[in-house]
């Protein structure tokens, strides 16, 4: 099962027929495994990784440190769940260290992000404070090297 996920994680477009041949399973089994994994939210989705830096208008990304007062019964979960629902939030983690939640926010402009921080995030009751870091340059994202190349094939077409 894990081998199927590893193949899809590398290339989500690998057709079930090919996965079946690569893993020595039947196509039906591969299809069923994928379907079940989707239902169980083991596979959360499939999407293209777009390098927006190459598209005319780059997107703005900010990393926001959020300090939160944990709440009785629910700890950080309730406030995290509220923050997670904003579509601007790209990812959200509870972390150890100087602050509690690490929020990645994406927007089309710096104003969109500052609007989110001041009018949506900072006003949540449990939020004690925020520190916003604007991202200046992407080097690697989700395992993709963005600046500089790696792994270009310079092999001789024929070798002993």
């Amino acid at each position: 099962m894990e081998d199927i996920f590893r193949i899809l994680e590398k290339d989500a477009r690998t057709p079930p027929e090919r996965i079946a041949q690569m893993t020595g399973r039947s196509v039906e089994e591969v299809r069923a495994t994928i379907k079940k994994a989707e239902e169980d939210r083991i596979i959360l989705g499939y999407r293209a990784k777009v390098n927006w830096d190459k598209v005319a208008q780059g997107r703005i990304l900010a990393l926001i440190e959020v300090r939160v007062t944990p709440q009785r019964e629910v700890g950080f979960d309730a406030v995290a769940a509220r923050i997670a629902r904003y579509p601007e939030v790209h990812s959200l983690y509870l972390i150890s260290g100087d602050y509690d939640l690490a929020v990645q926010v994406e927007g089309d402009s710096i104003y969109e992000i500052s609007d989110f921080v001041s009018n949506k995030l900072a006003i949540i009751d449990a939020v004690q404070g925020t520190v916003t870091h604007f991202l200046l340059k992407r080097f690697k994202e989700d395992g993709f090297i963005i600046q500089g190349e790696d792994g270009s094939s310079k092999r001789l077409p024929i070798a002993p």
């Binding site: 090919r18 020595g24 790696d150 077409p157 002993p160």
Partner: protein, 395 residues
């Protein structure tokens, strides 16, 4: 005075060099270079780039100024690590001080071993098809090359009886290369044990090129010196090129009895001095921390191997199921073409490059070598093109 000068005819190239037959692979090279959109299954190396931590270790070594020669034997630290690796994997014990030599690839190790082990006129037995360097190296050392044919029906595993049948007074050395290039064959312990007995009974030394030892799929790799009576009569050649995707670094090692390693070192010290220092540092890192990367690449090769085999099966093409390395040795009997013609026409008509089996000796005729160390998409596309080609040429 000058009027009476009659210059002797000038011979630029030695007869020995001139006698090396042109490589069946080189010819192809130009053909491919002149064609666009070729999918090449003719490669002989990993498609992975060397894992980053290994490259990083080499950069660090360069920064610290590790740019000098090393001991002729190679860095002692690396020899120790090689010895530890062989003990852990195979339970073999080699003294890093006297029984391990770091070489500039298995290529150099092979040449050194042949030169250290045979005298002119000695016969060298070698299962055929063989790796392309074996015949020329034996020839250059003045040895007589005695191929021991293997066949698809026996999975290209060398049979002890076939070795025995070719033994003469002059037989001196037996070359073994499992997992095998070009067939992907892996020997089982029982058959290998009987081959070893033939070597012992006939006083042969064994030169075992185990560069693909890590690339086996669901079967055991039988390391030759682990067989009874073999450690003291064999030279083991091990590499980094394939398992760690380090072909360009030019690094490998030899392990064997001290007198042979010393003899090899005597040649090595004058022709190479020492293996590239930066590559030795990289190899050290590979052995110490490269296992996770090896496993990841292994899984990828195995998946492509399955993909290739299942594709070939649906094309109705025969091959012995390869259990090691990253090659499939495909029978082209159904096409009625020679392997050279098949490869040339396949390249011209469908832009797929494969290596004609005849490049690996006479028993390779009737086959082509396909390397599956390419992407899954390329494998599928190449198979589709081969299918079209075969449909046109099937007899």
């Amino acid at each position: 005075m000058s009027a009476s000068r009659t210059p002797r005819t000038h011979q630029l190239v030695s007869q020995r060099a001139a006698a090396i037959p042109p490589s069946g692979i080189r010819k192809f090279f130009d053909l491919i270079a002149a064609t666009e959109g070729v999918i090449s299954l003719g490669v002989g190396e990993p498609d992975f780039v060397t894992p980053w931590h290994i490259r990083e270790a080499a950069i660090y070594a360069t920064e610290r100024g590790h740019t000098h020669y090393t001991s002729n034997y190679g860095l002692l630290e690396l020899r120790r690590e090689v010895a530890r690796h062989l003990e852990q994997r195979y339970g073999l014990r080699y003294d890093p001080a006297t029984e391990v030599l770091i070489t500039t690839g298995v290529s150099e190790g092979f040449d050194l071993a042949v030169r250290a082990l045979i005298d002119p006129g000695d016969e060298v037995l070698c299962p055929e098809p063989w790796y392309v360097a074996y015949f020329p190296c034996v020839h250059l050392a003045g040895g007589a090359f005695v191929p021991v044919p293997t066949n698809m029906e026996e999975g290209f595993r060398v049979q002890p009886e076939a070795v025995q049948a070719r033994i003469t007074e002059r037989s001196r050395l037996l070359i073994l290369n499992y997992p095998n290039n070009p067939t992907g064959a892996v020997m089982d312990r029982e058959t290998m044990g009987r081959v070893a007995e033939v070597a012992i009974d006939n006083g042969l030394t064994v030169l075992s090129d185990e560069i693909y030892d890590r690339l086996v799929y669901g079967v055991e790799h039988v390391c030759v010196p682990t067989l009874p009576g073999m450690r003291e009569r064999s030279v083991l050649l091990g590499g980094f090129s394939k398992a760690y995707a380090m072909t360009g670094w030019r690094i490998g090692y030899a392990a064997g009895p001290a007198p042979v390693i010393e003899a090899m070192m005597k040649v090595h010290q004058y022709v190479m001095l020492s293996a590239p220092t930066i590559a030795q540092e990289a190899a050290l890192e590979a052995l110490r921390r490269g296992e996770a990367a090896v496993q990841e690449m292994l899984e990828a090769y195995d998946q492509r191997r399955r993909l290739t085999l299942s594709g070939l099966r649906s094309l109705g093409l025969a091959c012995a199921e390869p259990q090691g390395a990253f090659y499939v040795f495909l029978s082209i009997a159904g096409s009625g073409l020679s392997s050279q013609t098949f490869a040339e026409q396949l390249l011209r008509e469908e832009k797929v490059a494969v290596v004609p089996g005849s490049a690996f000796g006479a028993s390779g005729e009737g086959f082509v070598r396909c390397c599956y160390a390419v992407s899954a998409q390329e494998i599928e596309e190449a198979l589709e093109r081969m299918g079209r080609f075969l449909a046109r040429h099937r007899q």
